[in-house]
Assembly symmetry: C2
Homo-oligomer: 102 residues x 2
Amino acid sequence: MEAQIFKALGDPLRLKIVKRLSHGSDYTITTLTKDLGISRQGARKQLQVLATAKVLRLKPVGREVNVILNPAALESCRRFIISLEQQWDTRLNALKDVVERG
Amino acid sequence: MEAQIFKALGDPLRLKIVKRLSHGSDYTITTLTKDLGISRQGARKQLQVLATAKVLRLKPVGREVNVILNPAALESCRRFIISLEQQWDTRLNALKDVVERG
DNA sequence: GGTTTAAGCAACCATTTAGTTGCATATGTA
DNA sequence: TACATATGCAACTAAATGGTTGCTTAAACC
């Protein structure tokens, strides 16, 4: 369901995490927690929300967990918005046609 | 803040409302409530969330309230995702450069 | 004027959410 | 082996959320 992705992105802290991942790399749970103003377990919960929505992946490596952004989720999100906008445009054009014909 | 828009769209019912608005028109609160499986006051609350996030506008007309989609919000949402994707691409390309040089 | 219809407002309730603390577990490392 | 570090798990709390019902207000219409 699309709503889940939006919901995952719909929190300032989670969005901050995603932003950070989009231009940083080699993040683990603890390194990501830095400067987040929240406990590790708190951060972990937010990461889980993002992971469940497939916005990112949590890959255990040794004793740590790598946090990896999944651009496909953002892409599907973007496409969904585009489809909405297109329907909107279609509707507006249809209205315009009616007006011009009438 | 961008998170607010995502949050507004991050609920199945609210997303349903937005979808409906994107290809329908002339909606008031009560007509929108139809087939939503929820009370008018419940629907109104969700509409308020969307209105606060500027996804739509509630325009009082006589004794009813017109519900009008605001495509600009969707557009800003889309642009935000694009900017994230671009940062991601930039980062990947930078990584690629390092690998190729090394 | 009286009735119907669209909506607002407030109180209330159940569930989810965001965060915490405390403790257990497992991996690296000296 | 012993110790430090990265994480997991569970219980708990406060606040936000999604929804309800009941009542009031105001515009439209006969």
